[in-house]
Protein backbone atom coordinates (compact mmCIF):
# COMPACT_ATOMS: atom_id res chain seq x y z
CA UNK A 1 0.00 0.00 0.00
CA UNK A 2 0.99 3.62 -0.45
CA UNK A 3 1.73 6.52 1.87
CA UNK A 4 -1.87 6.77 3.00
CA UNK A 5 -2.46 3.42 4.65
CA UNK A 6 -1.63 1.51 7.80
CA UNK A 7 0.53 -1.60 7.47
CA UNK A 8 -2.76 -3.52 7.62
CA UNK A 9 -4.03 -1.72 4.52
CA UNK A 10 -6.62 0.48 6.23
CA UNK A 11 -6.79 4.16 5.43
CA UNK A 12 -4.82 6.15 8.00
CA UNK A 13 -6.60 9.50 8.25
CA UNK A 14 -3.66 11.13 10.02
CA UNK A 15 -1.50 10.38 7.00
CA UNK A 16 -4.26 11.43 4.61
CA UNK A 17 -4.68 14.79 6.38
CA UNK A 18 -1.14 15.74 5.40
CA UNK A 19 -2.29 15.83 1.76
CA UNK A 20 -4.79 18.62 2.55
CA UNK A 21 -3.01 21.87 3.52
CA UNK A 22 -6.27 23.53 4.61
CA UNK A 23 -6.68 21.01 7.43
CA UNK A 24 -3.61 22.46 9.14
CA UNK A 25 -4.99 25.99 9.06
CA UNK A 26 -6.66 27.58 12.09
CA UNK A 27 -9.65 29.66 10.99
CA UNK A 28 -10.51 32.13 13.76
CA UNK A 29 -7.49 30.84 15.69
CA UNK A 30 -8.96 27.37 16.22
CA UNK A 31 -7.86 24.03 14.80
CA UNK A 32 -10.19 23.06 11.95
CA UNK A 33 -12.46 20.02 12.34
CA UNK A 34 -14.09 19.95 8.94
CA UNK A 35 -17.25 17.83 9.02
CA UNK A 36 -19.00 19.36 6.01
CA UNK A 37 -17.48 17.40 3.13
CA UNK A 38 -20.94 16.56 1.79
CA UNK A 39 -21.32 20.27 0.99
CA UNK A 40 -17.91 20.48 -0.59
CA UNK A 41 -14.88 18.26 -0.12
CA UNK A 42 -11.54 19.75 0.77
CA UNK A 43 -8.94 19.79 -2.00
CA UNK A 44 -5.79 17.71 -1.80
CA UNK A 45 -2.61 19.53 -2.77
CA UNK A 46 -2.21 17.10 -5.68
CA UNK A 47 -5.34 18.55 -7.30
CA UNK A 48 -4.23 22.15 -6.87
CA UNK A 49 -0.77 21.25 -8.21
CA UNK A 50 -2.30 19.58 -11.27
CA UNK A 51 -4.32 22.72 -12.03
CA UNK A 52 -1.40 25.06 -11.57
CA UNK A 53 0.82 22.78 -13.65
CA UNK A 54 -1.71 22.84 -16.48
CA UNK A 55 -2.21 26.61 -16.30
CA UNK A 56 1.54 27.30 -16.08
CA UNK A 57 2.70 24.85 -18.74
CA UNK A 58 -0.12 23.75 -21.07
CA UNK A 59 -2.67 26.57 -21.08
CA UNK A 60 -4.33 27.29 -24.42
CA UNK A 61 -7.85 27.07 -25.78
CA UNK A 62 -8.58 23.36 -26.40
CA UNK A 63 -9.91 22.13 -29.76
CA UNK A 64 -8.71 25.26 -31.59
CA UNK A 65 -5.00 25.99 -31.73
CA UNK A 66 -3.10 24.62 -34.71
CA UNK A 67 0.09 25.15 -32.70
CA UNK A 68 1.81 22.69 -30.39
CA UNK A 69 0.64 24.28 -27.15
CA UNK A 70 -2.97 24.15 -28.37
CA UNK A 71 -2.48 20.46 -29.01
CA UNK A 72 -1.10 20.04 -25.50
CA UNK A 73 -4.16 21.74 -24.03
CA UNK A 74 -6.51 19.58 -26.09
CA UNK A 75 -4.63 16.45 -25.01
CA UNK A 76 -4.80 17.51 -21.37
CA UNK A 77 -8.53 18.21 -21.55
CA UNK A 78 -9.48 15.08 -23.45
CA UNK A 79 -7.07 12.99 -21.37
CA UNK A 80 -8.77 14.29 -18.24
CA UNK A 81 -12.18 13.41 -19.65
CA UNK A 82 -10.92 9.90 -20.44
CA UNK A 83 -9.47 9.52 -16.93
CA UNK A 84 -12.76 10.58 -15.34
CA UNK A 85 -14.72 8.24 -17.62
CA UNK A 86 -12.45 5.33 -16.67
CA UNK A 87 -12.94 6.20 -12.99
CA UNK A 88 -16.69 5.78 -13.47
CA UNK A 89 -16.44 2.80 -15.81
CA UNK A 90 -17.94 4.47 -18.89
CA UNK A 91 -16.65 5.33 -22.39
CA UNK A 92 -15.18 8.83 -22.72
CA UNK A 93 -17.38 9.45 -25.79
CA UNK A 94 -20.42 9.23 -23.53
CA UNK A 95 -19.23 11.57 -20.77
CA UNK A 96 -20.36 15.19 -21.18
CA UNK A 97 -18.25 17.66 -19.17
CA UNK A 98 -20.38 20.45 -17.72
CA UNK A 99 -20.19 23.23 -15.16
CA UNK A 100 -21.89 21.33 -12.34
CA UNK A 101 -24.16 18.42 -11.45
CA UNK A 102 -26.99 20.94 -11.34
CA UNK A 103 -26.30 21.78 -14.97
CA UNK A 104 -26.19 18.06 -15.80
CA UNK A 105 -29.58 17.39 -14.19
CA UNK A 106 -31.08 20.45 -15.87
CA UNK A 107 -29.75 19.18 -19.19
CA UNK A 108 -31.53 15.84 -18.74
CA UNK A 109 -34.82 17.47 -17.77
CA UNK A 110 -34.74 20.25 -20.36
CA UNK A 111 -33.22 18.42 -23.29
CA UNK A 112 -34.34 14.81 -22.91
CA UNK A 113 -37.50 15.88 -21.10
CA UNK A 114 -38.69 18.42 -23.67
CA UNK A 115 -38.03 15.97 -26.51
CA UNK A 116 -39.65 12.95 -24.87
CA UNK A 117 -42.35 14.10 -22.47
CA UNK A 118 -45.80 15.24 -23.41
CA UNK A 119 -49.19 15.80 -21.86
CA UNK A 120 -50.19 13.13 -19.36
CA UNK A 121 -46.77 11.46 -19.21
CA UNK A 122 -45.47 10.66 -15.75
CA UNK A 123 -42.13 11.59 -14.18
CA UNK A 124 -41.32 9.93 -10.87
CA UNK A 125 -38.91 11.32 -8.25
CA UNK A 126 -38.52 10.71 -4.50
CA UNK A 127 -39.72 13.09 -1.80
CA UNK A 128 -36.14 13.23 -0.54
CA UNK A 129 -34.54 14.70 -3.68
CA UNK A 130 -32.08 17.55 -3.60
CA UNK A 131 -33.68 20.61 -5.20
CA UNK A 132 -31.39 20.14 -8.20
CA UNK A 133 -33.08 16.82 -9.00
CA UNK A 134 -36.57 18.14 -8.27
CA UNK A 135 -37.06 21.67 -9.62
CA UNK A 136 -35.87 20.89 -13.18
CA UNK A 137 -38.56 18.16 -13.28
CA UNK A 138 -41.17 20.53 -11.83
CA UNK A 139 -40.34 22.98 -14.60
CA UNK A 140 -40.40 20.59 -17.52
CA UNK A 141 -43.53 18.71 -16.42
CA UNK A 142 -45.32 22.05 -16.04
CA UNK A 143 -44.14 23.12 -19.49
CA UNK A 144 -45.42 20.04 -21.29
CA UNK A 145 -48.35 19.34 -18.95
CA UNK A 146 -46.89 16.05 -17.75
CA UNK A 147 -47.46 14.71 -14.21
CA UNK A 148 -44.85 14.68 -11.46
CA UNK A 149 -45.32 11.84 -8.97
CA UNK A 150 -43.38 10.91 -5.85
CA UNK A 151 -41.89 7.89 -4.15
CA UNK A 152 -42.78 8.68 -0.53
CA UNK A 153 -40.57 8.78 2.56
CA UNK A 154 -41.21 7.48 6.06
CA UNK A 155 -42.59 10.39 8.14
CA UNK A 156 -40.33 9.61 11.09
CA UNK A 157 -36.98 8.39 9.75
CA UNK A 158 -37.25 10.02 6.35
CA UNK A 159 -36.18 6.79 4.69
CA UNK A 160 -37.34 6.40 1.11
CA UNK A 161 -40.04 3.73 0.84
CA UNK A 162 -38.64 1.81 -2.11
CA UNK A 163 -41.28 -0.92 -1.70
CA UNK A 164 -43.80 1.63 -3.01
CA UNK A 165 -41.97 1.80 -6.32
CA UNK A 166 -43.61 -1.29 -7.78
CA UNK A 167 -47.10 0.17 -7.36
CA UNK A 168 -46.02 3.56 -8.73
CA UNK A 169 -44.54 1.88 -11.81
CA UNK A 170 -48.11 1.02 -12.81
CA UNK A 171 -48.29 4.71 -13.79
CA UNK A 172 -45.64 3.79 -16.38
CA UNK A 173 -43.33 6.73 -15.74
CA UNK A 174 -41.22 7.75 -18.72
CA UNK A 175 -38.36 8.52 -16.36
CA UNK A 176 -37.54 7.95 -12.70
CA UNK A 177 -35.04 10.44 -11.21
CA UNK A 178 -33.40 9.57 -7.89
CA UNK A 179 -30.34 10.44 -5.86
CA UNK A 180 -27.76 7.65 -5.65
CA UNK A 181 -27.14 8.69 -2.04
CA UNK A 182 -29.49 11.06 -0.21
CA UNK A 183 -27.65 14.20 0.93
CA UNK A 184 -29.82 14.32 4.07
CA UNK A 185 -30.47 10.66 4.93
CA UNK A 186 -27.13 9.20 3.89
CA UNK A 187 -28.88 6.13 2.52
CA UNK A 188 -28.02 4.65 -0.87
CA UNK A 189 -30.78 3.91 -3.37
CA UNK A 190 -30.94 0.21 -4.31
CA UNK A 191 -30.18 1.06 -7.94
CA UNK A 192 -29.25 -2.42 -9.14
CA UNK A 193 -32.59 -3.65 -7.85
CA UNK A 194 -34.84 -0.81 -9.05
CA UNK A 195 -33.24 -0.26 -12.47
CA UNK A 196 -34.56 -3.55 -13.98
CA UNK A 197 -38.02 -2.85 -12.49
CA UNK A 198 -38.06 0.64 -14.03
CA UNK A 199 -36.82 -0.62 -17.39
CA UNK A 200 -39.39 -3.45 -17.41
CA UNK A 201 -42.09 -0.80 -16.94
CA UNK A 202 -40.73 1.06 -19.98
CA UNK A 203 -39.03 3.91 -18.11
CA UNK A 204 -35.52 5.33 -17.89
CA UNK A 205 -33.52 5.86 -14.70
CA UNK A 206 -31.73 9.19 -14.09
CA UNK A 207 -29.37 9.27 -11.11
CA UNK A 208 -27.92 12.19 -9.16
CA UNK A 209 -24.59 10.74 -8.04
CA UNK A 210 -23.22 13.77 -6.16
CA UNK A 211 -22.99 12.13 -2.74
CA UNK A 212 -21.88 8.75 -4.07
CA UNK A 213 -18.85 9.11 -6.32
CA UNK A 214 -16.36 10.32 -3.69
CA UNK A 215 -17.48 8.03 -0.88
CA UNK A 216 -18.00 4.57 -2.37
CA UNK A 217 -16.93 2.59 -5.41
CA UNK A 218 -19.18 3.62 -8.29
CA UNK A 219 -19.09 1.80 -11.61
CA UNK A 220 -21.93 3.41 -13.53
CA UNK A 221 -22.78 0.39 -15.73
CA UNK A 222 -23.41 -1.67 -12.57
CA UNK A 223 -26.03 0.82 -11.38
CA UNK A 224 -28.33 0.26 -14.36
CA UNK A 225 -28.72 4.04 -14.73
CA UNK A 226 -29.50 5.60 -18.11
CA UNK A 227 -28.33 9.05 -17.01
CA UNK A 228 -25.77 9.65 -14.26
CA UNK A 229 -24.84 13.14 -13.03
CA UNK A 230 -22.00 14.03 -10.65
CA UNK A 231 -20.20 17.02 -9.22
CA UNK A 232 -16.45 17.74 -9.33
CA UNK A 233 -16.11 19.75 -6.13
CA UNK A 234 -17.62 16.99 -4.01
CA UNK A 235 -14.72 14.83 -5.22
CA UNK A 236 -12.05 17.31 -4.19
CA UNK A 237 -11.72 19.02 -7.58
CA UNK A 238 -12.76 22.60 -8.37
CA UNK A 239 -16.10 24.33 -7.72
CA UNK A 240 -16.70 24.52 -11.44
CA UNK A 241 -17.13 21.14 -13.00
CA UNK A 242 -19.48 18.24 -13.17
CA UNK A 243 -20.51 15.70 -15.68
CA UNK A 244 -23.31 13.76 -17.24
CA UNK A 245 -23.02 10.25 -18.53
CA UNK A 246 -25.65 8.84 -20.87
CA UNK A 247 -25.58 6.12 -23.48
CA UNK A 248 -24.61 7.38 -26.94
CA UNK A 249 -28.03 6.72 -28.46
CA UNK A 250 -29.71 8.85 -25.76
CA UNK A 251 -27.20 11.68 -26.23
CA UNK A 252 -27.68 11.51 -30.00
CA UNK A 253 -31.42 11.95 -29.59
CA UNK A 254 -31.05 15.05 -27.41
CA UNK A 255 -30.87 18.69 -28.47
CA UNK A 256 -28.34 21.05 -26.95
CA UNK A 257 -29.60 23.59 -24.41
CA UNK A 258 -26.66 25.92 -24.81
CA UNK A 259 -25.37 26.80 -28.25
CA UNK A 260 -22.33 28.69 -29.43
CA UNK A 261 -18.74 27.97 -30.28
CA UNK A 262 -17.13 24.52 -30.28
CA UNK A 263 -20.41 22.60 -30.51
CA UNK A 264 -21.11 22.99 -34.23
CA UNK A 265 -20.43 21.17 -37.47
CA UNK A 266 -21.41 23.95 -39.85
CA UNK A 267 -22.86 27.40 -39.32
CA UNK A 268 -24.58 29.56 -41.92
CA UNK A 269 -26.19 32.94 -41.32
CA UNK A 270 -29.66 31.54 -40.79
CA UNK A 271 -29.02 28.04 -39.41
CA UNK A 272 -26.46 25.63 -38.05
CA UNK A 273 -25.79 21.92 -37.70
CA UNK A 274 -24.34 20.56 -34.50
CA UNK A 275 -21.37 18.39 -33.64
CA UNK A 276 -21.94 14.75 -32.76
CA UNK A 277 -21.59 13.20 -29.34
CA UNK A 278 -20.59 14.99 -26.17
CA UNK A 279 -19.26 18.08 -27.96
CA UNK A 280 -22.80 19.07 -28.90
CA UNK A 281 -23.49 19.79 -25.22
CA UNK A 282 -20.24 21.63 -24.50
CA UNK A 283 -20.79 25.05 -26.05
CA UNK A 284 -18.05 27.61 -25.58
CA UNK A 285 -14.50 27.18 -24.37
CA UNK A 286 -14.39 24.01 -22.29
CA UNK A 287 -13.30 24.12 -18.66
CA UNK A 288 -9.97 22.48 -19.34
CA UNK A 289 -8.36 23.38 -16.00
CA UNK A 290 -11.42 22.19 -14.08
CA UNK A 291 -11.41 18.89 -15.95
CA UNK A 292 -7.69 18.44 -15.34
CA UNK A 293 -8.44 18.98 -11.64
CA UNK A 294 -11.20 16.40 -11.78
CA UNK A 295 -8.88 13.81 -13.30
CA UNK A 296 -6.32 14.54 -10.58
CA UNK A 297 -9.06 14.10 -7.97
CA UNK A 298 -9.94 10.72 -9.51
CA UNK A 299 -6.26 9.72 -9.33
CA UNK A 300 -6.08 10.78 -5.71
CA UNK A 301 -9.27 8.97 -4.71
CA UNK A 302 -8.01 5.81 -6.40
CA UNK A 303 -4.68 6.24 -4.66
CA UNK A 304 -6.49 6.21 -1.33
CA UNK A 305 -8.69 3.38 -2.54
CA UNK A 306 -12.44 3.66 -2.85
CA UNK A 307 -13.09 0.52 -0.77
CA UNK A 308 -10.73 1.88 1.90
CA UNK A 309 -12.39 5.31 1.88
CA UNK A 310 -15.80 3.70 2.27
CA UNK A 311 -14.60 1.42 5.09
CA UNK A 312 -13.01 4.37 6.92
CA UNK A 313 -16.15 6.47 6.61
CA UNK A 314 -18.31 3.62 7.91
CA UNK A 315 -16.00 3.39 10.96
CA UNK A 316 -16.39 7.12 11.56
CA UNK A 317 -20.17 6.99 11.11
CA UNK A 318 -20.46 4.03 13.48
CA UNK A 319 -18.92 6.23 16.13
CA UNK A 320 -21.23 9.14 15.32
CA UNK A 321 -24.32 6.92 15.57
CA UNK A 322 -23.08 5.38 18.83
CA UNK A 323 -21.97 8.54 20.65
CA UNK A 324 -24.35 11.17 19.32
CA UNK A 325 -27.24 9.99 21.55
CA UNK A 326 -24.91 10.12 24.59
CA UNK A 327 -23.77 13.66 23.84
CA UNK A 328 -27.20 14.99 22.86
CA UNK A 329 -29.85 12.61 24.24
CA UNK A 330 -32.83 14.11 22.44
CA UNK A 331 -31.19 13.90 19.00
CA UNK A 332 -33.58 12.58 16.36
CA UNK A 333 -31.41 10.81 13.83
CA UNK A 334 -32.70 10.59 10.27
CA UNK A 335 -31.97 7.72 7.92
CA UNK A 336 -30.63 4.21 8.50
CA UNK A 337 -29.76 3.01 12.02
CA UNK A 338 -26.78 0.98 10.83
CA UNK A 339 -23.65 2.83 9.69
CA UNK A 340 -23.07 0.07 7.14
CA UNK A 341 -26.20 1.24 5.35
CA UNK A 342 -24.92 4.80 5.19
CA UNK A 343 -22.69 6.69 2.85
CA UNK A 344 -20.75 9.60 4.30
CA UNK A 345 -23.19 11.46 6.53
CA UNK A 346 -25.61 11.64 9.45
CA UNK A 347 -28.33 14.30 9.82
CA UNK A 348 -30.22 14.91 13.03
CA UNK A 349 -32.44 17.39 14.81
CA UNK A 350 -32.92 18.27 18.46
CA UNK A 351 -35.83 20.02 20.16
CA UNK A 352 -33.43 21.30 22.79
CA UNK A 353 -30.95 22.97 20.42
CA UNK A 354 -31.87 24.26 16.98
CA UNK A 355 -29.48 23.17 14.22
CA UNK A 356 -28.22 26.72 13.61
CA UNK A 357 -27.46 27.29 17.26
CA UNK A 358 -25.69 23.96 17.31
CA UNK A 359 -23.56 24.92 14.31
CA UNK A 360 -22.62 28.24 15.94
CA UNK A 361 -21.70 26.59 19.24
CA UNK A 362 -19.68 23.86 17.48
CA UNK A 363 -17.81 26.53 15.54
CA UNK A 364 -16.34 27.66 18.86
CA UNK A 365 -14.35 24.42 18.86
CA UNK A 366 -13.48 24.74 15.17
CA UNK A 367 -16.05 22.10 14.25
CA UNK A 368 -17.66 22.84 10.89
CA UNK A 369 -21.02 21.18 10.28
CA UNK A 370 -23.95 22.07 8.04
CA UNK A 371 -27.22 23.34 9.46
CA UNK A 372 -30.33 23.95 7.40
CA UNK A 373 -32.53 22.11 4.95
CA UNK A 374 -29.59 21.01 2.79
CA UNK A 375 -31.49 21.93 -0.40
CA UNK A 376 -34.15 19.35 0.44
CA UNK A 377 -36.99 21.48 1.78
CA UNK A 378 -39.82 19.07 0.84
CA UNK A 379 -38.17 16.24 2.80
CA UNK A 380 -37.85 18.49 5.85
CA UNK A 381 -41.51 19.56 5.49
CA UNK A 382 -42.49 15.90 5.35
CA UNK A 383 -40.63 15.29 8.61
CA UNK A 384 -42.08 18.49 10.12
CA UNK A 385 -38.60 19.92 10.59
CA UNK A 386 -37.41 23.32 9.48
CA UNK A 387 -33.74 22.44 9.72
CA UNK A 388 -31.38 19.62 10.60
CA UNK A 389 -27.73 19.46 11.54
CA UNK A 390 -25.58 17.36 9.22
CA UNK A 391 -22.23 15.78 10.02
CA UNK A 392 -20.39 14.43 7.00
CA UNK A 393 -17.12 12.53 6.93
CA UNK A 394 -14.30 12.04 4.45
CA UNK A 395 -11.05 10.10 4.12
CA UNK A 396 -9.37 12.82 6.22
CA UNK A 397 -11.82 12.65 9.14
CA UNK A 398 -10.10 11.65 12.37
CA UNK A 399 -11.20 10.52 15.81
CA UNK A 400 -9.98 13.92 17.07
CA UNK A 401 -12.52 15.58 14.77
CA UNK A 402 -15.27 13.47 16.28
CA UNK A 403 -14.01 14.10 19.85
CA UNK A 404 -14.33 17.83 19.17
CA UNK A 405 -17.81 17.27 17.73
CA UNK A 406 -19.04 15.43 20.81
CA UNK A 407 -17.43 17.98 23.15
CA UNK A 408 -19.24 20.72 21.23
CA UNK A 409 -22.55 18.85 21.42
CA UNK A 410 -22.11 18.61 25.20
CA UNK A 411 -21.37 22.37 25.32
CA UNK A 412 -24.62 23.02 23.47
CA UNK A 413 -26.59 20.78 25.77
CA UNK A 414 -25.12 22.55 28.80
CA UNK A 415 -26.01 25.99 27.41
CA UNK A 416 -29.56 25.13 26.44
CA UNK A 417 -30.47 22.83 29.34
CA UNK A 418 -29.55 25.33 32.04
Amino acid sequence: MSDWHTPGGQLDPLKVRAAYPILSTTPGGRPLHYLDSAATAQRPKAVVDAVSNFLLTANANPHRGAYTLGGDATAAYEGARARTAAFLGVPAEELVMLGSATEALNLVARSWGRANLSRGDVVLVTEAEHHANLIPWQQVTREVDADLEFIPVDDVTGEILWDRLEGLLKLRPKIVAVGHVSNVLGSAAPLAQIAPQIHAAGGLLAVDGCQAVANMPVNIPDTGADFYAFSAHKMGALFSGGGLWARAHLLNGMNPIETGGDMIREVRLRDATFAEGTQKFEAGTPDASGTVALAAACDFIDDLGREQIHAHEVRMLERVLRELPEALPDARILGPRDAKDRIGLVSFSSDLVHAHDLATILDRRGVAIRAGHHCAMPLHEQLELSATARVSVAPYTTDEDLDALFDGLRDARKIFAR
Partner: protein, 129 residues
Protein backbone atom coordinates in the same frame (compact mmCIF):
# COMPACT_ATOMS: atom_id res chain seq x y z
CA UNK B 1 -14.90 32.82 23.13
CA UNK B 2 -16.38 35.70 25.11
CA UNK B 3 -18.53 36.73 22.14
CA UNK B 4 -20.00 33.26 21.93
CA UNK B 5 -20.93 33.13 25.58
CA UNK B 6 -22.58 36.53 25.12
CA UNK B 7 -24.56 35.26 22.15
CA UNK B 8 -26.09 32.53 24.27
CA UNK B 9 -26.27 34.47 27.52
CA UNK B 10 -29.16 34.08 29.90
CA UNK B 11 -31.33 36.95 28.66
CA UNK B 12 -31.34 35.61 25.10
CA UNK B 13 -31.95 32.03 26.21
CA UNK B 14 -34.77 33.22 28.44
CA UNK B 15 -36.49 34.97 25.55
CA UNK B 16 -35.98 31.81 23.48
CA UNK B 17 -37.47 29.54 26.16
CA UNK B 18 -40.40 31.81 27.02
CA UNK B 19 -40.83 34.31 24.23
CA UNK B 20 -42.78 37.48 25.01
CA UNK B 21 -45.89 38.39 23.00
CA UNK B 22 -45.94 34.91 21.50
CA UNK B 23 -49.22 33.87 19.93
CA UNK B 24 -51.98 35.47 17.89
CA UNK B 25 -53.88 38.75 18.09
CA UNK B 26 -57.67 38.51 18.00
CA UNK B 27 -57.98 41.17 15.30
CA UNK B 28 -54.62 42.12 13.82
CA UNK B 29 -54.54 45.06 11.42
CA UNK B 30 -51.85 43.22 9.52
CA UNK B 31 -50.29 39.76 9.68
CA UNK B 32 -47.20 38.87 7.65
CA UNK B 33 -44.92 35.82 7.38
CA UNK B 34 -41.19 36.19 7.15
CA UNK B 35 -38.88 33.36 6.23
CA UNK B 36 -35.17 32.82 5.84
CA UNK B 37 -35.01 30.72 2.69
CA UNK B 38 -31.48 29.60 3.47
CA UNK B 39 -32.26 28.14 6.88
CA UNK B 40 -36.03 27.72 7.15
CA UNK B 41 -36.55 30.08 10.12
CA UNK B 42 -40.13 31.32 10.12
CA UNK B 43 -41.77 34.23 11.88
CA UNK B 44 -45.35 35.47 11.66
CA UNK B 45 -45.65 39.04 12.89
CA UNK B 46 -49.07 40.47 13.74
CA UNK B 47 -49.60 44.15 14.40
CA UNK B 48 -52.50 46.27 15.47
CA UNK B 49 -52.25 49.87 14.28
CA UNK B 50 -54.46 52.87 14.80
CA UNK B 51 -55.39 55.24 11.95
CA UNK B 52 -52.30 57.38 12.62
CA UNK B 53 -49.93 54.44 12.22
CA UNK B 54 -49.27 53.99 15.91
CA UNK B 55 -48.62 50.38 16.91
CA UNK B 56 -51.12 49.51 19.64
CA UNK B 57 -50.58 45.78 19.96
CA UNK B 58 -48.25 43.05 18.68
CA UNK B 59 -47.88 39.30 18.67
CA UNK B 60 -45.54 36.92 16.89
CA UNK B 61 -45.27 33.19 16.33
CA UNK B 62 -42.73 31.08 14.52
CA UNK B 63 -40.07 28.47 14.67
CA UNK B 64 -36.35 28.60 14.28
CA UNK B 65 -33.10 29.07 16.09
CA UNK B 66 -32.68 30.76 19.48
CA UNK B 67 -31.28 33.89 17.87
CA UNK B 68 -34.20 34.43 15.49
CA UNK B 69 -36.88 33.73 18.10
CA UNK B 70 -35.19 35.67 20.93
CA UNK B 71 -34.58 38.74 18.79
CA UNK B 72 -38.20 38.71 17.62
CA UNK B 73 -39.34 38.43 21.23
CA UNK B 74 -37.07 41.28 22.36
CA UNK B 75 -38.28 43.41 19.48
CA UNK B 76 -41.97 42.90 20.23
CA UNK B 77 -41.42 44.29 23.74
CA UNK B 78 -40.35 47.57 22.12
CA UNK B 79 -43.02 47.97 19.45
CA UNK B 80 -46.10 49.16 21.34
CA UNK B 81 -46.53 52.91 21.16
CA UNK B 82 -44.05 53.27 18.31
CA UNK B 83 -45.01 54.79 14.97
CA UNK B 84 -44.63 52.90 11.69
CA UNK B 85 -42.01 55.38 10.38
CA UNK B 86 -39.81 54.89 13.44
CA UNK B 87 -39.67 51.11 12.85
CA UNK B 88 -38.98 51.50 9.15
CA UNK B 89 -35.87 53.53 9.95
CA UNK B 90 -34.34 50.82 12.18
CA UNK B 91 -31.56 48.48 11.09
CA UNK B 92 -29.12 45.92 12.39
CA UNK B 93 -27.43 48.24 14.96
CA UNK B 94 -30.78 48.53 16.74
CA UNK B 95 -31.26 44.74 16.85
CA UNK B 96 -27.72 44.22 18.14
CA UNK B 97 -28.41 46.81 20.83
CA UNK B 98 -31.53 44.88 21.84
CA UNK B 99 -29.59 41.61 21.91
CA UNK B 100 -26.71 43.31 23.68
CA UNK B 101 -24.19 41.49 21.54
CA UNK B 102 -22.51 41.69 18.15
CA UNK B 103 -23.90 39.03 15.83
CA UNK B 104 -21.48 37.79 13.18
CA UNK B 105 -22.20 37.73 9.44
CA UNK B 106 -23.15 34.05 9.42
CA UNK B 107 -26.02 34.58 11.86
CA UNK B 108 -27.08 38.18 11.30
CA UNK B 109 -29.95 37.09 9.03
CA UNK B 110 -31.37 35.13 11.99
CA UNK B 111 -31.17 38.18 14.27
CA UNK B 112 -32.82 40.46 11.70
CA UNK B 113 -35.74 38.22 10.75
CA UNK B 114 -38.13 39.70 13.35
CA UNK B 115 -37.36 43.31 12.42
CA UNK B 116 -37.47 42.64 8.68
CA UNK B 117 -40.81 40.85 9.01
CA UNK B 118 -42.19 43.78 11.02
CA UNK B 119 -40.97 46.21 8.37
CA UNK B 120 -42.53 44.04 5.67
CA UNK B 121 -45.82 44.08 7.61
CA UNK B 122 -45.71 47.87 7.89
CA UNK B 123 -44.95 48.27 4.18
CA UNK B 124 -47.87 46.00 3.32
CA UNK B 125 -50.13 48.00 5.64
CA UNK B 126 -48.98 51.29 4.11
CA UNK B 127 -49.60 50.07 0.57
CA UNK B 128 -53.03 48.89 1.56
CA UNK B 129 -54.20 52.05 3.29
Amino acid sequence: MGGMDDLYREQILEHHRTPHNFGQLAEPTISVDGRNPSCGDLITMQLQLDAEGLITDVAFSGRGCAISQASASLLTDELRGKRAEEITALGSPYVMELLGVEVGPSRIHCALLGLETTQKALATWRNRS
